[in-house]
């Protein structure tokens, strides 16, 4: 095959079910293609990806991932080929769409990798089933439903419960398990609405069977290998993305393992898949029967996990296979001199634990099922299941890093073990703890949960060790300490159980030479020499020699969660590049298997480890690095700063904390200290107070004056943050959300209602302060900046405003002695500029700023930390046109959650649009975030009294654009007064037809503008917004958002398509 121009579509914004794994696979794909001499055109609407860096591809488009927009790019770039399998389900669906629209044929674009026929056969439930029956592979009894009635009839034959799987959706969206007709009606209705082909598979339930996955690679000559087997701890019924998973499979006997392996290869060959793919099985251990569940004909979250678990670069090999290479023609990059046609053998155990957002979303339904709710995951490596599980517990970054004590009753525990939910593992542990981990208990848990006893037995062993440790009081025998460490217990947990400080535990360990040994991930269990710079720690075995030069350690950000997403991985990877360019060995510590930063190719050394004190100290002991960077990994790294500083000092390590000092970071983070500093410098901050008790919260709120913003201190993504308008709301908040205490005070801030909010990203070398961007929030003040659409440059500021904002930003950076990156949040109200917050670290918006301006801000920041002077860089980074970032939400996946925006962050990802003006950029960003605005049709308006006055102009604009309006009584009456026509419909609470719900269901609404006020939106609104989510009707919940939408309809150009520009810095 000659050298080609190849189009690679990415996966778009991060949503639940489609996360950073496609940045990882897409980036690896681009690098493989370019190394092979091809020219790569990359399209993705997600600015936070490494994939969309100008260095990753030859030409980068940050454009919506729609058939329409890709058609324009194809027309312009005339690529020879397209690789659809790297952009998740989005990529596949796009390729299918382009093919069906005749675009691929028209421009003679060849599809590389798995053919469309094969994709269809794997994804169309009916075709897949038929094919499997043909080749004699067992599948569950099932049928295809195209209507709710079909579904009900099928279920009668199959018996309840039945599993509902919509065709062609990702992360199991819209699927579920129905136990009754009523439930089936709801689930089937939702599933039909979501399936792009309006097709459901209704399947007999095999609840309670074990679930296994095989990750397969196949070339066009039918050579195929299994990269990795994976075993789900949670039995069937829980989506594999929601399950705790171990690799390799630990309980499958040889014969069963080979049976499933043979089946996986047979299935993949019969479907004709080229490259990576994932085959899922249900397995009944007593009868040794198995059933094929499904095949993902592309790289996936599981392949990212399998890649990190084994060291095999699945996406890279998949890409090479798509180009027509054979497996045996490719090298094993880990050993360097053996073949890629090789099945890894590993000599450790990998555990993956999902990360769920329920700590933020207290109202969301915590039950787990066939659709995903987790936002990310962590992976850990240990020599045994025990060590690996305990390390995963430390890595997840939620809770305290080990099984906490709970007060659940026996009945509650059993419930939490029986019904899948995010606390199941903790409940199993707590149940065993409460009942002394006897054999009867182990059996009881297996009986009610269907977990394999192998795992429960091992957990029971750990619980027994926990009980043994808890009998120690301020003293622990060396032997017991070693045993605990070999079983993966963290120092913190041991300290807690034995009433000894963590520092003393560490000292006792070191005295006894109990320290982390770092072993290598080599694909071959030591059979061949490998020089992979990919390490994991264990206390179970002896260390190996690791060659270490002058290094810089960069802390990553761990599992993806709301508020700390892929943006921080972007900055981490840029930090690595900058450190390498400056001549250092760049070392990454991270534990997220989905990311680019945990690709061993991405750094000089990768430590796949928990991001806690213990593991970072162990790495510092080994590396004795020149420097450590804490600014790039989000709040996780910042929270460790003072501990790391203290450790470096006490251990007399030669390590510098690069960039802003820990003392200054603390000044910025601590409201009191920061407030004092700013007051002295004459910079306004909203009035505030830190309340150490609930009484104080009430008192301070009154003194400061409602509305106030209340929140717990030291949290990310606005967790537990609310705007409170009166005492009644405040009391409710205190009851439900936060208990103020002297250790964990609640912050009370004056809320600047109606202010313009700004986000400023800057980089400083201590002398020059470079303003990267002033971004203006599009949603009104009070909406979390991560959930607000924002535009750069700011649209509604005067020249003077801009100058003042820049001056103040520079002043703040200097006061806080920022070296490296920082993010400021400012507000302008009544011409006064307030500093709301200063974050002494790389922000969520840094990649967006970098993509909009072409300046790699994170790299510039690291250069500044390394002592570079930024004299050559413009003091204010220039940009052309406008860029808009819009958040994307995963409402569909999180049932029970209201979709109205507020100070607590709810979005999971973001999309960017760029254009010559705001309107164009906004339209593009909305499309990129899958929220296309309609250009005609009917708009439903429901506006709270408080906002009606301000809404008049928006309503008029809508009419002028030719939209028909419908509204509830109050809103319609107001519109009438303004001489605007609208059709009146009933409120939901009137319980009369037609109400908005029935009109929506009939498909007669194209856009909803619902502007509620007050703390919790009324049930009417919530019900309607939820239905809008399920039916895919765009909705706007803020006035400013509505204005932006109207403006974009006025001035947006729909034909503008330009690749990203790159500044040679």
């Amino acid at each position: 095959m000659g050298k080609m121009k190849i189009l690679v579509p990415g996966a778009g914004p991060i949503i639940i079910g489609q996360a950073a794994e496609f940045d990882y696979s897409g980036t690896q794909c681009c690098s493989a293609l370019r190394e092979d001499g091809h020219k790569v055109i990359l399209v993705n609407s997600n600015p936070a990806t490494i994939q969309t860096d100008p260095d990753t591809a030859d030409i980068v488009y940050i454009e919506p991932l729609t058939v329409e927009s890709l058609a324009k790019i194809i027309e312009k770039e005339k690529p020879d080929a397209i690789i659809p399998g790297m952009g998740g389900q989005t990529g596949l669906n796009l390729a299918i769409g382009l093919h069906e629209a005749g675009i691929l044929e028209k421009y003679n674009v060849k599809m590389l990798g798995t053919s469309l026929e094969s994709i269809e056969m794997a994804e169309d439930r009916d075709l897949f089933r038929k094919r499997m029956v043909e080749i004699g592979e067992p599948v569950a009894e099932s049928g295809i439903a195209n209507t709710i009635n079909d579904a009900l009839n099928l279920a009668k034959k199959l018996n309840y419960p039945v599993v509902v799987r919509p065709a062609f959706t990702l992360g199991g969206t819209g699927g579920g398990i129905a136990y009754s007709e009523e439930e089936l009606e709801i689930i089937a209705g939702r599933g039909l609405a979501l399936s792009p082909v309006k097709q459901l598979l209704i399947e007999e339930s095999i609840l309670g069977w074990l679930e296994f996955e095989f990750e397969v690679l196949r070339d066009t000559d039918d050579n195929a290998i299994v990269v990795c087997s994976m075993e789900n701890l949670d039995p069937m019924g829980v989506h594999t993305g929601e399950s705790i998973v171990v690799a390799p499979a630990l309980t499958l006997p040889e014969k069963a393992y080979q049976k499933l392996r043979t089946s996986a290869l047979k299935v993949v060959k019969s479907l004709g898949i080229v490259g990576g793919c994932n085959v899922q099985f249900a397995y009944h251990s007593k009868s040794q029967e198995y059933i094929l569940i499904e095949v993902n004909p592309r790289v996936s979250r599981s392949s990212a996990l399998a890649s990190k678990a084994t060291g095999i670069p699945i996406a890279r090999i998949s890409t090479m296979l798509s180009l027509g290479n054979m497996l045996h023609e490719l090298p094993n990059r880990v050993t360097g001199n053996t073949s890629a046609a090789f099945e890894p053998s590993i000599d450790y155990v990998v555990t993956k634990i999902p990360r769920w957002p329920f700590d933020k979303f207290k109202l969301a339904d915590r039950e787990l099922g066939t659709q995903m709710k987790s936002t990310g995951e962590t992976m850990s490596i240990g020599r045994t299941f025990e060590e690996s599980l305990m390390k995963a517990w430390r890595s997840i970054g939620q809770g305290i890093g080990y099984p906490e004590e709970v007060t659940w009753t026996q009945k509650q525990l059993e419930e939490k073990i029986r019904i899948p939910n995010d606390q199941r593992l903790l409940a199993i542990w707590a149940y065993l703890r409460k009942n002394k981990a006897t054999q009867t208990n182990i059996e009881k848990i297996c009986e009610i949960s269907d977990f394999h006893p192998f795992f429960i037995d091992r957990i029971a062993k750990l619980v027994k060790l926990e009980i043994e440790l808890s009998k120690c009081d301020e003293k622990i025998e060396d032997g017991l300490l070693l045993k605990a460490k070999k079983n993966g217990f963290g120092d913190k947990q041991i300290a807690h159980l034995t009433n000894i400080s963590q520092e003393r535990i560490r000292k006792q360990r070191k005295k006894n030479k109990i320290k982390s040994s770092f072993l290598i991930v080599d694909t071959c269990a030591g059979e061949f020499e490998a020089k992979t710079p990919y390490f994991y720690s264990t206390y179970a075995d002896k260390p190996i020699d690791i060659e270490i030069g002058k290094s810089i350690v960069i802390l990553g950000s761990g599992p993806i969660r709301i508020g700390q997403g892929i943006e921080f991985d972007y900055s981490t990877v840029h930090g690595v590049q900058a450190a390498r360019n400056a001549g250092y060995e760049a070392v990454v510590v991270n534990n997220n298997p989905e990311t680019v930063s945990t690709d061993f190719d991405a750094s000089d050394r990768l430590y796949f480890e928990p991001l806690d004190k213990e593991s970072i100290f162990e790495i510092l002991d080994l590396e004795r690095p020149y420097g450590i960077i804490l600014q790039l990994g989000g709040q996780t790294a910042v929270n460790l700063a003072s501990h790391i500083e203290e450790y470096i000092r006490k251990e007399k390590l030669p390590t510098k904390i690069l960039g802003t000092t820990v003392k200054d970071m603390d000044f910025a983070e601590d409201r009191g200290k920061c407030g004092d500093l700013m007051e002295k410098a004459g910079i306004a901050m909203p009035r505030w107070a830190a309340a150490k008790s609930s009484e104080e919260v009430v008192q301070y709120s009154k003194e400061i004056g409602f509305p106030v913003l209340v929140r717990p201190s030291f949290v990310l993504g606005g967790r537990g943050m609310e705007i409170v308008h009166n005492s009644k709301q405040l009391n409710q908040y205190l009851k439900l959300e936060a208990h103020a205490s002297p250790e964990k005070p609640v912050l009370v801030d004056k809320f600047l209602e109606g202010a313009i909010e700004l986000d400023i990203d800057l980089v400083s070398d201590g002398k020059n302060v470079i303003i990267g961007a002033i971004m203006e929030q599009i949603e009104m003040a009070g909406v979390h900046s991560g959930d607000s659409a924002c535009v750069m440059p700011a649209q509604s500021l005067s020249k003077k405003n801009i100058k003042d904002v820049e001056d103040i930003s520079r002043k703040v950076a200097k006061i806080l002695n920022i070296v490296g990156a920082a993010n400021l949040q400012l507000a302008i109200k009544d011409d006064i500029i307030y500093l709301l917050e200063a974050n002494p670290r790389a922000s969520r918006t840094l990649p967006f700023v970098s993509k909009s301006t072409g300046y790699p801000m994170a790299r510039i920041a690291v250069n500044a930390m390394l002592g570079d002077k930024l004299d050559e860089i413009p003091k204010t980074i220039p940009m052309k046109g406008a860029s808009v970032k819009v958040p994307t939400f995963s409402w569909l996946k999180l049932t029970g959650l209201d979709t109205v925006l507020g100070p607590e962050m709810k979005s999971t990802g973001e999309a960017m649009g760029h254009g010559p003006n705001f309107g164009t950029a906004y339209l593009k960003a909305m499309k990129g975030g899958n929220k296309s605005l309609p250009t005609k049709g009917t708009v439903f308006l429901s506006i709270s009294n408080k906002l009606k006055l301000d809404f008049e102009d928006v309503a008029k604009d809508l009419v002028n654009h030719g939209f028909d309006l419908i509204a509830t009584k109050g809103t319609a009456a107001y519109l009438r007064k303004c001489k605007i026509d609208s059709k009146v419909i009933w409120r939901i609470s009137d319980r009369k037809q037609p109400d908005i719900l029935s009109i929506m269901r009939k498909g007669n609404v194209d856009l909803i503008i619902n502007l509620p006020t007050g703390r919790r939106a009324a049930t009417d609104g919530a019900q309607m917004r939820r239905l809008a989510v399920e039916l895919g009707i765009p909705f706007i919940t803020t006035l400013t958002g509505a204005r932006a939408a109207i403006n974009s309809l006025k001035e947006g150009e729909t034909d503008y398509v330009q690749p990203l520009k790159k500044v040679n810095y």
């Binding site: 290998i225 040889e254 080979q258 090789f342 072993l519 269990a525 002896k542």
Partner: protein, 351 residues
């Protein structure tokens, strides 16, 4: 109680003993399969060897009667990082099985370190002690002075003493038992009438079984062992008259009979993930392997048919009226990819 393994290079590794209390000698080898411990331990090709598993948690699914590849455990001993006390599957756990079979075992050893040592210096003669009857220092001395297990005629030890028959239909296949795995017998007996014969059957004795094809089994030890020279000569004669197929040791002995040479690999191939390529049609099989010796320096009339993709060693040959493979198409333990080769038995008979 504490157990240890002492190596000829002076290293000693301490662990916790389990299984049978005993002191034994053997050649330490490692296997990288993550499952299939029972099949491996009962494979006669491991005779004289101490088998160490690189996967750290062994015994997870217990032990049962169905997974024997011969009548007993064939290794001298077993080394694991950790064994599973309560497998919740199978009839017994590893400890119970080893006690029953009188096999000593150790856990808690840094198996990765020992694997890398083996990879770097080659397989080592070793002494393992789980009964406290020897000091580690004595163990090192004994390991350095002991003879290699392959210096003994291991084939004679593991072969059947009497011929017997399996399978009731199809052509007649006579199978030399040089330590044959049950799965080879089972695979052949599905479509053939198989006569399994002792290791040293002469041409005359073989002819009495009226074979349509002679099958050479796997087995332990050095193919170039002086005691096997008469066997090599017999095979030379057989090849001229009857079609021959060989696996593993059978492949090596066929190679010797055809004029090739064998040599000892530094640390062998033992695992279920060895990639081999069919040279003719470029098909790749992931194969099960267990061998410490390999074939090379083939004469011109012998064609190499398979190579190992990791180290390019010879994995298969063919010549007039015969062919053989170094890997194990019968798997057990390991992947079934190459099982298709058994279908070629009939082709061979039909000419």
């Amino acid at each position: 109680m504490q157990g240890w393994i002492a190596l000829e290079n002076g290293s000693v590794f301490f662990g916790e003993s389990f299984g049978y209390a005993k002191t034994i000698e053997g050649e330490l080898v490692f296997n990288t399969s993550m499952t299939g411990y029972q099949e491996a331990l009962t494979d006669p090709s491991y005779a004289g060897q101490i088998l160490m598993f690189t996967f750290p948690q062994i015994g997870n699914y217990g032990c049962n009667k169905e997974s024997y590849e011969s009548k007993k455990i064939q290794t001298q001993a077993c080394i694991v990082k950790e064994w599973c006390r309560k497998p919740y599957q199978g009839e017994m756990n590893l400890d119970e099985w080893f006690r029953k079979e009188k096999i000593p075992a150790i856990e808690g050893i840094d198996t990765r370190e020992l694997t890398i040592m083996t990879r770097e210096v080659g397989t080592l003669r070793s002494v393992m002690c789980t009964d406290g009857t020897m000091t580690p220092e004595e163990g090192i001395k004994r390991a350095a002075n002991m003879s290699w297990p392959s210096e003994e005629n291991l084939v004679a030890k593991v072969s059947t003493s009497k011929s017997y028959k399996e399978g009731s239909k199809g052509p007649r296949v006579t199978l030399y038992d040089w330590g044959v795995k049950q799965s080879i017998v089972t695979n052949l007996a599905m479509k053939n009438r198989v006569t399994i014969v002792p290791w040293n059957y002469s041409l005359t004795e073989i002819k009495k079984t009226k074979p349509d094809l002679v099958f050479l089994s796997n087995g332990p030890g050095d193919p170039d062992h002086p005691d096997l020279a008469p066997v090599v000569n017999t095979i030379k004669e057989i090849v001229n008259e009857i079609p021959v197929i060989g696996i593993c040791l059978g492949h090596q002995i066929l190679g010797l009979a055809l004029g090739g040479k064998t040599y000892k690999l530094k640390y062998g191939h033992r695992g279920g993930n060895q990639p081999v390529k069919d040279i003719e049609n470029e098909v790749v099989y992931i194969t099960s392997q267990n061998h410490g010796f390999a074939l090379h320096e083939l004469p011109k009339n012998v064609q190499e048919t398979f190579i190992n993709l990791n180290d390019n060693t010879c994995e298969g040959i063919k010549s007039n009226n015969c062919w053989s493979v170094q890997f194990h198409p019968e798997a057990a333990p390991g992947p079934m990819d190459a099982n298709v080769l058994f279908e070629k038995v009939k082709e061979m008979i039909d000419g």
